[in-house]
């Protein structure tokens, strides 16, 4: 039997916040979204207090703090670094790994034939990650991705368990699926489960027993694949090379609404600069930059949603070109008289940055400039990464609406100035 494993970091952001704060062991921790809007991660203790995922911070703030809860603004520099470490350790343990998200990875266990060995491997894996990086993980093992994901659910639910669960025998799979509502299956959302409920399909077991042809004709090939995966037929392989990104979006909602073009412009510039950094980090160039500005859908004032794209003649990754494009796009979609609550910059139509499309008759000297420009961008990126903030003129850091991140922990692992200390 070909087995695979899903490794899932427990309450990842909360675990990261705890790693360098031993005083917060067993204390409730919540992490807030960008701008400190709502709760995006909770430690076990915070869950036990009844804090729900996605709840607005202001609603729970008073009671939560009064009960000794800890709160953090999201610190993605820290989470990203610790995630890379976890993935790196996992990469060293198997040949084939698919990093599925910041806190999840699929491992190909085809070198392990025996399910007992798979379970032991899971325990070993969990201990190593915990010891080396200090992040607790749980591991679900199964013959398909969908079943591995379900096994990881079981591992989570089992109180006092080992954090590893292997789901492979058909009787055991049937038993688990009978008790699993369909909306807990990977890839089945609320709408889809409602439609399935209409056909009296409630448990995952009901779904597994459905005729695949009927599922394909009534729903989709995707759902058919899920049904097959529930039966133990591997339809989704562990893919170690992720598809390159097709677009990069940097967007924010802001608390203070603004109708002022001169306030929006530096904000858009900030997003464009950040998007440019991401683009170069991915090793891509883009041919299109778009700007989105929108009023709040919750507001009773006049609504407007502006979107405009600028096309470049040659693919670019230079922040200055992106800035120029973004500013042009903003001018084109800005309308006077609205209170904007959200803005964003989107880069798209990528090509790999080493592929240079240029015409035969391009000016020779341009290529020298090209080299210089690339060096300049690399230099600015590395300075910014080190915390020596370099701003582009149109950013006007003083004027931009600042992001609310009042409760952010130090960048313990990525900044010399913020290292943890020991006495």
């Amino acid at each position: 039997m070909n087995l695979l494993a899903l490794v899932d970091c427990d309450n990842f952001y909360a675990s990261c916040e705890r790693l360098f704060r031993p005083d917060l062991r067993k204390k409730p921790i919540v992490v807030l979204s960008n701008n400190d809007g709502c709760v995006i991660a909770r430690s076990k203790e915070a869950k036990a207090m009844g804090i729900k995922m996605g709840v607005p911070w202001f609603q729970i703030k008073k009671a939560y703090l009064a009960n000794g809860g800890q709160v953090f603004s999201s610190n993605f520099a820290l989470y990203g670094d610790l995630s890379n470490r976890v993935m790196h350790v996992l990469e060293g343990m198997v040949n084939n790994i698919e990093v599925y998200s910041i806190d999840e990875a699929f491992l190909d266990l085809h070198h392990i034939q025996n399910s007992n060995h798979a379970y032991e491997f899971g325990i070993h894996c969990r201990n190593i990650v915990d010891q080396w990086v200090g992040i607790p993980v749980r591991i679900g093992i199964g013959p398909t991705k969908t079943l591995a994901k379900i096994a990881s659910h079981v591992a989570k639910k089992k109180i006092g368990g080992t954090g590893v669960f292997c789901l492979h025998e058909s009787l055991q799979i049937e038993h688990v699926l009978k008790h699993l509502p369909i909306n807990e299956i990977w890839g089945i959302g609320r709408n889809l489960s409602r439609r399935l409920n209409d056909l009296s399909i409630y448990s995952s077991y009901d779904l597994m027993k459905m005729d695949t042809r009927l599922i394909r004709s009534k729903f989709s090939v995707v759902l058919e694949r899920t049904v097959r995966e529930l039966r133990g037929e591997q339809c989704l392989a562990v893919q170690n090379d992720r598809e390159p990104k097709k677009q990069i979006i940097v967007s924010r909602s802001f608390r203070e609404r603004t109708g002022d073009f001169n306030q929006l412009k530096p904000l858009i510039s900030n997003f464009a600069v950040r998007a440019g950094e991401k683009l170069r980090h991915e090793g891509q160039k883009c041919s299109q930059v778009s700007v989105l500005i929108a009023t709040s859908p919750f507001s009773k004032q006049a609504q407007y949603r502006g979107f405009h794209s600028i096309q470049f003649s040659n693919p670019v990754n230079d922040t200055r070109s992106i800035l120029a494009g973004a500013n042009q796009a903003l001018q084109d979609c800005f309308r006077q008289g609205y209170a904007y609550a959200k803005a964003g910059v989107l880069l798209s139509q990528f090509s790999h940055s080493s592929v240079m499309q240029r015409s035969l008759f391009d000016d020779l000297h341009k290529s020298f400039d090209q080299k210089q420009n690339e060096d300049l961008m690399r230099c600015i990126d590395s300075m910014n990464a080190e915390g020596l903030q370099v701003y582009y003129a149109s950013q006007c850091p003083g004027q931009a609406l600042p992001m609310n991140k009042k409760m952010m922990s130090p960048k313990y692992t990525t900044s010399w100035l913020e290292l943890p200390t020991a006495k």
Binding site: H88, W132, G134, V355, Q357, S359, L360, P420, K423
Partner: protein, 143 residues
């Protein structure tokens, strides 16, 4: 001989290789005699860090380890993947705070400072002690 017209080629369709030769300046003159001996510069990471994923940097505050050549503000290289043993210098969390001390397992569990001004810390029952990792190197900066 017959000739078939297949279509026109625009400059944009040409593969990159056709223009590549013009992209970089060609320098003339004698090549550097060192070219055959190029090696990458010395990398401190390679010397100081064995297991990157398990290695964390921690700054020391205070002089309690001065006789182990760990001064105030030194940067500790802490490797979580190495098992601590009797006599290892470790970073541990004790009652919610990180400390850097020498670990003594015999005759009784103790965290030893390396400075007579400080008392050994005997770990009592019920105290939370957690070894974070062992200190494999310390960097003291003089300027």
């Amino acid at each position: 001989m017959t000739i078939n017209y297949l279509g026109s080629i625009s400059a944009d369709d040409l593969p990159v290789i056709f223009t590549k030769f013009f992209l970089e300046p060609v320098s003339v003159g004698f090549p550097s005699p060192a070219n055959d001996y190029l090696e990458s510069p010395i990398d401190l990471n390679q010397y100081l860090i064995k297991n990157g994923a398990a290695t964390f940097l921690i700054r020391v505050s205070g002089d309690s380890m001065i006789h182990a050549n760990i001064g105030d503000q030194a940067i500790l290289i802490v490797d979580r993947s190495i098992k601590p043993k009797h006599g290892s210098i470790v970073v541990a969390s004790l009652d919610g705070e990180f400390v850097c001390k020498r670990l003594q397992l015999r005759p009784r569990l103790c965290l030893l400072p390396e400075n007579p001004k400080y008392e050994p810390i005997y770990v009592q029952h019920g105290q939370d002690l957690d070894i974070m990792g062992i200190v494999t190197a310390a960097i003291n900066k003089f300027e």
